[in-house]
Structure formats: structure tokens, C-alpha cells
């Protein structure tokens, strides 16, 4: 019974609850067991089973009264970057030891108001900085996928690795993630699930631990495109407490899933094909273009996004710069870890040295440097100018096409520990994802096929600002054509 309950998608589960096929409580109990079963993968930092059951009971009462809310009874995992009131929130960092926020993030508050159930806080790269989920103070997260016949644990991608694993291993129906340079899409690709980064400003950042303010965006991670549409509706919306939140209404994203993409123009960017591209991924990419053409879309090859190759270095100046300032508040004074010192500066220095991991330290130092006197113009200001050019590239491309089809990641999941020596090599994981963050555009990763060694490969749809509907519609067509039915080796409750 456990296995079959957790094998349903969010949409199917919602409909089953409405039909009273089972209760929200039964469903949550199944997922609580699944969370426990998934512990070897270390996808959760904090599990909240009692709270989940209480929330499920409240959902059952509403369901019984016929007052079901859009996400009533739906068990989800929350990336431990979202502040959850009274529940330990760590950002996977030692420096936030013991931090229990006295407030709830806007996005999770909306989800609870919609009736969703909290299973726990999902593991991630420390402060969302990473593409592997191996930098967490609470230990690395493992991908439920392995190469067949190989016992080597693989990374789930990052930074929202715990969220991706929870969904992929069926320990949660959906999860919230955040995407700053690819942190939703790339783990979605590595774990064979759907991950959506909405337009910048679509979802509120209030109550989400900040990494890079001009790039961070909360978003859903789900099993299907329809599920992502349902979750996005529950997460999105203008928030007056976030000055960068967009004052635009939230449409019913499910309604956008008409299945009809005839006449849509889909671009294949020329410059994404450089970089000594992985042949499997390129083949899958072009095959997918064919699928979409069969579904009636017009494929426009070789549209140009001339500044693509500069997106990564641009990102790796701007994000660390903003992070260095955003992380200055972690100083041992008002919350979290404190290492005592004989002077104030010593306390600051020892606390932050002990509290931050190596990658966070690296980015804070880079960020401090690129903002410092004498270097600001050459690095930070220069990067913001190049960023403007990258955004302009997309604007110009969107005069010829309605959305863009691209790979999500340059490879499938790699082994834990494989790429950890060279920071720049790790950064190259983000080559296809960072442009959409720099331009603030919506982008989704959909599982499209398997690599030769049996690991999931995702493909990305990037759209115009606030055209999540268009992006979801094309993504569903891609999902339909790809018929990705594969499951990872590790599934909670068994396959």
C-alpha cells in the first residue's frame, strides 16, 4: 500500500484525495515512512513528522467539509534555505546552529495556507553555493540513481540536491528549491525529475536565506510538468515585503497545459553547442527538437546568443560579490554559532572561520575582493555591464522565437568526490543554466533521456519574462514526447 500511494504524481494524488480514495493522514504516514527509508541518501536535515501529521489532519477536516484548498494534504519537502517558523533552519551551515526563525518565509506560508504538509527540511549545498550538494555541514546528499552495476555513490547535483532526491526517491510528492545559477534545474536533471526556475520576482524571496539577491529565485521541484504548474501556482505571487517582487497577477498555470504547441517558434542557440560538447547530450537535444517539430512547433536553428561564453565568469563575479555582503550578518552576535574571542574582531573572525565551509569561504573572499577599492570597476561593474549584454541577447532572440530549447547540464551525475579539487571545474557545471538567472528569465528542466551509463539527462526550456505558461506548455510537450518512465535504483518503499 505504501509503495502505490507514493507512486502517484501530485496531480493524481490531489484527485485521489478529492475522491476520498485515501485520507491525507494515510498519505502523510506513507510519506513519513518513505522519508525514514530514504535516510541513507541524507536528503533531509530535519524531519518534521509530528507537524506533518497535524497538518494532514487539518487537511482531512477541510476535505471532509468539502472545503479543500489547492494543495490540501500534499506532503512536500522544503529546502533548508527557507525559514520555517520554530523549525530549525540551517542553510546547511554550521554557522546557523540552533537557529529557529521567529517567522515563516512568504513562499512556505503560502504553501501551508494552500494546505500542503511539511515533511521536513531538505539538505543542500551550504548557503546554496554549489552544484553537487557535497558541501553541506550535515554531510553530502546521495543521488538515488547509480550507474547500473556500479556501487559508486553519485552526486544529486546542487544546490537543491536534498529536494531533488526527496522527489526522485519518492520521499516527497514535491519540494521547494531555489535557483541562483542552476540550483533547481541542474539537480532536477541529475535526478531525473522536473525543476522550474520562475522569472525573477515571480516568487517572493522574503524569508529565504539570501545568497545572491539579484539572482536567487524560489521554485518547485516535482515529478511532472503538471505537478510543477500546480506547485508554482501555490508559490508565486506579489509580496509587498520584497521590493524586487513583481506586481503581476498569478494565472492558473495548469490551464496553460493545453498540450498544443503548434506554431510556437523554438530556438536552438548556436553558442550552446561550443565547449567540446558531450555527444550524447547533443544528440538528445537535437532529437528533442525533432519531437517538438513533430508536435507542430517551428524549430529555428542557430539563433545567436553572442555573449553566452561570458555568462559563467559574469555569474562568478556577481554572485560571490552579493553573497559576501549578504553573509556579513553571520557574525555570532544575534543567532547561530558563536566562537568566543578576546576582542570583537577575534570573535567575528573565529566564528566565521569555524562556521563557514570551504566553498562559502572561497566565494565570500572572491566577492569581497571584486568589490574592494581599486577592483570594483574592473570586476563588479564590468560584470554588470556584460550582464546587460547577456539580457539584451535574450531580448533580441525572443524577437525571433518564443522560447529556447537547450541542455540543462554538460554531463550526467558524477561521483561524489570526483570534481571537488578544482573549483573552476565545478563551476563549469552551470554553463547552460546561469544565463537564465543573469537575464531573470523563467526556465525549466525536464527529464528527456538516459545517458549511455544509465543516468538521467535533462533538457531545458527558457522563456520570456513572466511567460511561465508558455514554458510549461512546451515543457509538457517535451515530457510527453520523451516518455521518461525510468526510475532510480533507490526508491523509498521499493520499486
Amino acid at each position: 500500500m505504501t509503495g502505490s500511494l507514493t507512486s502517484l504524481t501530485l496531480a493524481e494524488t490531489r484527485d485521489s484525495l478529492a475522491r476520498k480514495a485515501f485520507s491525507a493522514r494515510e498519505l502523510t504516514e506513507s510519506y513519513i515512512a518513505a522519508v525514514e527509508a530514504t535516510r541513507p541518501l541524507n536528503a533531509f536535515i530535519t524531519e518534521t513528522p509530528e507537524r506533518a501529521l497535524a497538518m494532514a489532519e487539518a487537511s482531512d477536516q477541510r476535505l471532509a467539509r468539502g472545503e479543500a484548498r489547492p494543495l490540501d494534504g500534499i506532503p512536500i519537502a522544503v529546502k533548508d534555505l527557507y525559514c520555517t517558523k520554530g523549525v530549525l533552519t540551517t542553510a546547511a551551515s554550521h554557522i546557523l546552529d540552533g537557529f529557529r526563525p521567529p517567522y515563516e518565509s512568504t513562499v512556505t506560508e503560502k504553501l501551508w495556507q494552500a494546505g500542503a504538509v511539511m515533511l521536513g527540511k531538505a539538505n543542500l549545498d551550504e548557503f546554496a553555493m554549489g552544484s553537487s550538494s557535497t558541501t553541506s555541514y550535515y554531510g553530502p546528499v546521495e543521488n538515488p540513481w547509480r550507474r547500473p552495476g556500479d556501487n559508486c555513490p553519485l552526486v544529486p547535483g546542487g544546490s537543491s540536491g536534498g529536494s531533488a532526491v526527496a522527489v526522485a526517491a519518492r520521499a516527497a510528492l514535491a519540494a521547494t528549491g531555489t535557483d541562483t545559477g542552476g540550483s533547481i534545474r541542474q539537480p532536477a536533471s541529475f535526478c531525473g525529475i522536473v525543476g522550474l526556475k520562475p522569472t525573477y520576482g515571480r516568487c517572493s524571496r522574503w524569508g529565504v536565506v539570501a545568497y545572491a539577491s539579484s539572482l536567487d529565485q524560489p521554485g518547485p521541484m516535482t515529478r511532472t510538468v503538471r505537478d510543477a504548474a500546480i506547485m508554482l501556482r501555490g508559490m508565486a505571487g506579489h509580496d509587498p515585503k520584497d521590493s524586487t517582487s513583481a506586481p503581476v497577477p498569478v494565472p492558473d498555470y495548469e490551464e496553460a497545459l493545453t498540450g498544443d504547441i503548434r506554431g510556437l517558434r523554438i530556438g536552438i542557440p548556436l553558442e550552446y553547442r561550443a565547449h567540446g560538447m558531450n555527444m550524447e547530450i547533443e544528440n538528445l537535444w537535437y532529437r528533442a527538437a525533432g519531437w517538438l517539430a513533430e508536435a507542430g512547433a517551428e524549430i529555428i536553428y542557430d539563433i545567436s546568443l553572442p555573449h553566452t561564453k561570458y555568462a559563467l565568469p559574469t555569474y562568478y563575479i556577481i554572485a560571490p560579490a552579493e553573497a559576501s555582503s549578504n553573509l556579513a550578518r553571520y557574525d555570532g552576535v544575534r543567532f547561530g554559532l558563536r566562537v568566543e574571542g578576546s576582542t570583537l574582531d577575534e570573535m567575528y573572525e573565529l566564528t566565521r572561520a569555524a562556521g563557514f565551509g570551504a566553498e562559502v569561504r572561497r566565494r565570500v573572499l572572491i566577492g569581497t575582493y571584486v568589490l574592494s577599492a581599486g577592483y570594483y570597476d574592473a570586476y563588479y561593474l564590468k560584470a554588470q555591464r556584460v550582464r546587460a549584454l547577456i539580457a539584451l541577447d535574450f531580448n533580441q532572440a525572443f524577437e525571433q522565437v518564443d522560447c529556447i530549447l537547450a541542455p540543462t547540464a554538460p554531463s550526467a551525475a558524477f561521483a561524489i568526490g570526483e570534481k571537488s579539487d578544482d573549483p573552476v571545474e565545478m563551476y563549469l557545471n552551470d554553463v547552460f543554466t546561469v544565463p537564465a538567472n543573469l537575464a531573470g528569465l523563467p526556465a525549466i528542466s525536464v527529464p528527456a533521456g538516459l545517458s549511455a551509463d544509465g543516468l538521467p539527462l535533462g533538457l531545458q526550456i527558457i522563456g520570456r519574462a513572466f511567460d511561465e505558461e508558455g514554458v510549461l506548455r512546451v515543457a509538457e510537450a517535451l515530457e510527453h514526447a520523451a516518455q521518461f518512465r525510468h526510475l532510480p535504483g533507490f526508491i523509498a518503499g521499493g520499486r
Binding site: P313, Y316, V333, D345, Y369, S372, A383, P423
Partner: protein, 100 residues
């Protein structure tokens, strides 16, 4: 850009992160590597290009001048590692003394 140990030490001080002597050299190498890599931006001609202020296109929203927050000292002090807890000095955060 190649950073030497002194430069790294200075940045670490600005960022208030303690580095041991043995960490300085390897960090200097790592950071230099990253900085050299990002310097490829110099290939891009950005004359006449305004730096991007924000991807959010609108201008700054404002709020009403109303007291809607604060008066929550327990919440503010509740997670603090060190506060002055009792007596007439209740209600402060504390840090090692600063000499001006």
C-alpha cells in the same frame, strides 16, 4: 590576477574570516585561479553599456509610514548566543568589549 599571501590576508580581514598562516598560500593560488578565469570578461567591449541595475524592471515600491513591526524583544533576542539576561540590564545583546 595573481594574489599574494598579503592580499589574501587583507581580504580575509575585510571579510572577518580567520585564516591560518598555512592556509594563505593555497588559498592565494585558488583565488588567483578563479580571478584569472573571470578576467576573460575583459574581452568584451562594454563601452556605452550601462551596468544592469536589476532584472526587475519597475522602480522602487514604497510603503506607508505605519508602525507594523517591532515590540517583539523575545523573538529578537531569543536565538542570540549571548544576551544580558537578568536584572536591570535585561534586554541587550552582548559582545566582547570594544575600546574606542
Amino acid at each position: 590576477m595573481a594574489l599574494d599571501k598579503a592580499a589574501v590576508a587583507h581580504i580575509a580581514f575585510l571579510a572577518r574570516i580567520r585564516l591560518s598562516e598555512t592556509e594563505l598560500e593555497p588559498l592565494a593560488d585558488e583565488l588567483s585561479q578563479i580571478l584569472t578565469w573571470v578576467e576573460q570578461l575583459n574581452e568584451v567591449d562594454t563601452t556605452e553599456v550601462a551596468p544592469m541595475a536589476s532584472v526587475a524592471a519597475s522602480s522602487l515600491p514604497t510603503r506607508e509610514d505605519r508602525v507594523t513591526d517591532g515590540d517583539c524583544r523575545e523573538a529578537i533576542l531569543g536565538d542570540a548566543p549571548r544576551t544580558v539576561p537578568s536584572g536591570t540590564d535585561r534586554g541587550f545583546f552582548t559582545v566582547p568589549k570594544v575600546v574606542e
